[in-house]
C-alpha cells in the first residue's frame, strides 16, 4: 500500500489531474446539453471523455513503466520480497487511479445534472463500463510498450500517438467499437461485446504485469527478448484469444427489446415514445395538435406514429428517431408517413415507376413533404439542422406556413393535383 501512495505521488499525472477533470467537464458540457434529462444519452456523454483520456493514460503508463530502466532498478526489483508482478501492478494502478478518477468526476457530474430533470431510472452502467474498459486497455498497452522500449521518450510517444491514431481511425462504433457516440433508447450495449472488452482489458493488464523483458545485463541471444518463454507463450495466447473474442463478439451496440408499455400521447393520432424519452412528450403532444389541424380531405393521417424500435427489434428503419435533442427528424419522418398514407388509392391509380416518375412529380412530392414537416414541427428548420429534400428551399417553406390558411390550401391542392395526375394517368 505504501508503494501505491509513493507511485501516486510520483506519477506525472499528479499535476495534470485538475486539468483532466476540467477536460472531462468540458467534454460533458462544452458542446451541447441536449443529453441532460435522458439517462442513456447522459451515460454515453459521461463515457465520451474516455476517448481522450485513453491515449494520455497509455503515454503516462509507458513513462512510468520506463522508469525501471531509466533508474536501472531491475536488480532491486527482482530481489525484492514482493513478487515482481505486484510492483508492476502497483505502478499501473497508480496511473489508472488518476484516469479513472477524472472519468468518475465526469460520471458524477452527469448524474448530478440529469437527476432532477429525468424521470425514474439511472445511468446505464454498460456505457460507463465501456469507457472504463477502454481506459484499462490503453493503460495496459502503454505499460507494455513502455516496459519493452528502452528509450524514455519513444515509449510514451508511440503509445500516446499510436493509441490516438488507433482510436480515431478504428475505434468508432461501426468499426472496433471502442467507444459509443449516441445513446438512443432503442440501442443498448451487447453483453457479448462488453464481456469481450472486459476480457481484453484483463488480458492486457495480466500481460503488462507479467511479461518481463530480459535484463540488459544478461547475456544471450538477441532475438529471444523475453525472460520467461513459457509465461510469454501463455500470455500471448490469452491476448490473441481476447482479440479474437473482440472481433467475434459483434457490434458493440445492438437493438434493444421494446418495452411492454411505451409512452404515448393521448388522443389520435398517437405518438409513442420510449419511456426514456419522456422529456419529449410535451413536444409530441404539441405535434399531435398540429397534425389534427391538417386538412383531412386532402391527407390521410395514420393512427399511430412510433419511435424506432417500439414495434420490435426486427425492423431497423421503421419509426422516427430523435436526433440530438430536436424533434425535427421525427416531424420529417411523420410527414413522410402521412404522404405515403395519402397516395391515391382509387382504381387505376398505381405507384409511378420508370418513365412515369416525372421531375414535376418529384418536386411536388418533395414540396408537400417539406410543407408537412414544417407544419408538424410548428416552425422553420432549427439552426443546427441543414439540408432538406432536393430543390426545396426550407426557409421558403417556413414562410409559406405563416401565410393565411386559404393560400396554403391552394398551394397544397395544386401540388396534390400533380401527384394525383401522375398516379392516375
Amino acid at each position: 500500500m505504501k508503494l501505491y501512495w509513493i507511485e501516486l505521488r510520483r506519477s506525472p499525472l499528479r499535476l495534470w489531474f485538475p486539468l483532466l477533470v476540467g477536460v472531462d467537464l468540458a467534454a460533458l458540457f462544452g458542446r451541447s446539453t441536449w443529453w441532460i434529462g435522458e439517462w442513456p444519452q447522459a451515460s454515453v456523454q459521461a463515457q465520451i471523455p474516455a476517448f481522450y483520456f485513453a491515449p494520455l493514460l497509455a503515454a503516462a503508463a509507458a513513462w512510468a513503466a520506463g522508469r525501471v530502466d531509466r533508474h536501472n532498478v531491475h536488480a532491486q526489483l527482482d530481489a525484492a520480497a514482493h513478487p515482481r508482478w505486484r510492483s508492476e501492478l502497483v505502478q499501473l494502478s497508480a496511473t489508472l487511479t488518476y484516469g479513472l478518477g477524472a472519468y468518475a468526476a465526469g460520471v458524477i457530474a452527469a448524474v448530478i445534472v440529469t437527476l432532477p430533470k429525468a424521470g425514474p431510472g439511472f445511468l446505464w452502467p454498460s456505457y460507463i463500463f465501456l469507457g472504463v474498459s477502454l481506459l484499462i486497455t490503453y493503460a495496459g498497452i502503454g505499460h507494455l510498450i513502455g516496459h519493452w522500449l528502452r528509450s524514455p521518450f519513444t515509449g510514451p510517444l508511440i503509445s500516446g500517438l499510436g493509441g490516438l491514431v488507433l482510436i480515431s481511425w478504428m475505434g468508432s462504433p461501426k468499426r472496433l467499437g471502442l467507444f459509443a457516440l449516441s445513446g438512443d433508447p432503442f440501442k443498448e450495449i451487447s453483453q457479448n461485446a462488453l464481456m469481450a472488452r472486459a476480457l481484453m482489458a484483463m488480458a492486457l493488464v495480466i500481460a503488462a504485469v507479467s511479461l518481463r523483458r530480459k535484463s540488459p545485463l544478461s547475456v544471450g541471444r538477441v532475438w529471444n527478448l523475453s525472460a520467461h518463454r513459457g509465461r510469454t507463450l501463455v500470455v500471448g495466447v490469452l491476448l490473441c484469444g481476447s482479440i479474437l473474442g473482440l472481433s467475434m463478439a459483434g457490434p458493440v451496440q445492438v437493438a434493444r427489446s421494446a418495452p411492454s408499455q411505451p409512452l404515448c400521447t393521448k388522443g389520435t393520432p398517437r405518438i409513442c415514445l420510449w419511456p426514456e424519452d419522456r422529456k419529449y412528450l410535451p413536444e409530441a403532444e404539441g405535434m399531435v395538435k398540429r397534425i389534427n389541424r391538417l386538412p383531412r380531405r386532402l391527407f390521410t393521417i395514420p393512427s399511430e406514429f412510433q419511435e424506432r424500435g417500439l414495434s420490435g427489434p426486427g425492423e431497423p428503419f421503421s419509426g422516427f428517431f430523435i436526433l440530438e435533442g430536436s424533434m425535427w427528424n421525427p416531424a420529417a419522418t411523420m410527414a413522410g408517413s402521412i404522404m405515403h398514407a395519402s397516395w391515391p388509392k382509387e382504381n387505376g391509380c398505381t405507384l409511378p415507376l420508370g418513365s412515369r416518375l416525372t421531375p414535376q412529380f418529384r418536386q411536388a412530392s418533395a414540396d408537400l413533404t417539406a410543407w408537412l414537416t414544417v407544419r408538424i414541427f410548428g416552425g422553420g428548420t432549427p439552426a443546427g439542422i441543414h439540408g432538406g429534400p432536393p430543390n426545396v428551399s426550407m426557409p421558403a417553406m417556413a414562410q409559406l406556413a405563416d401565410k393565411p390558411e386559404g393560400e396554403q390550401m391552394d398551394w397544397v391542392k395544386s401540388r396534390m393535383q400533380v401527384v394525383h395526375n401522375t398516379f392516375c394517368s
Partner: protein, 137 residues
C-alpha cells in the same frame, strides 16, 4: 548537452537558429506540397497556418517547461480543436484554425500572435533577458 548549451555561446546559438528555421521550412514545404498536390490551394494555406500556430505554441511550451516538454501546448490544443470546435449550428467557431477557411481573418491573427510569442520566447533566453534588463537606455 546541458553543459554545452550553457557554455557554448554564440556559435551554438547560431546553429540553434539555423536548425529551427530549417525544421520549420522543411516541414512547411513537406506539408504544403502534399496538401497542394492532394487537395488544393485553400487547404494548403490552412495547413501552413496551422503549422505556424503549433510551431509558436511549441516554442512557448519549450521556454516555459524546458525543450523536452515542447509538446505540451500543441497536445493541449487537441481536445478543443476536435471536440469544442463546432457550435450548435454546426459551423466552426472563430478560433478553429483547422476548420476555418484560408480567408478567415481571426485565425491569421492567432497565427501572427502565436508566431510572435513563440519566436519571442525562443530569443528571450535567460542571458538575453538579463541583458535587456540591465541595459542602460
Amino acid at each position: 548537452m546541458n553543459q554545452l548549451e550553457l557554455a557554448a555561446g554564440p556559435i551554438l546559438r547560431t546553429y540553434e537558429r539555423l536548425h529551427l528555421s530549417g525544421v520549420y521550412l522543411t516541414t512547411l514545404v513537406l506539408v504544403g506540397s502534399v496538401e497542394w498536390f492532394e487537395v488544393g490551394p485553400d487547404p494548403t494555406i490552412t495547413a501552413c497556418r496551422s503549422l505556424t500556430i503549433w510551431f509558436g505554441l511549441a516554442l512557448l511550451s519549450g521556454r516555459i517547461w524546458g525543450r523536452w516538454l515542447s509538446w505540451i501546448l500543441p497536445a493541449a490544443t487537441l481536445f478543443p480543436l476536435t471536440y469544442l470546435n463546432v457550435d450548435t449550428n454546426g459551423d466552426a467557431r472563430w478560433w478553429d484554425w483547422t476548420g476555418q477557411p484560408a480567408s478567415h481573418a481571426p485565425c491569421w491573427g492567432i497565427a501572427a500572435l502565436s508566431a510572435f510569442i513563440g519566436l519571442a520566447s525562443f530569443f528571450l533566453t535567460p542571458w538575453h533577458w538579463k541583458k535587456l534588463r540591465t541595459k542602460k537606455f
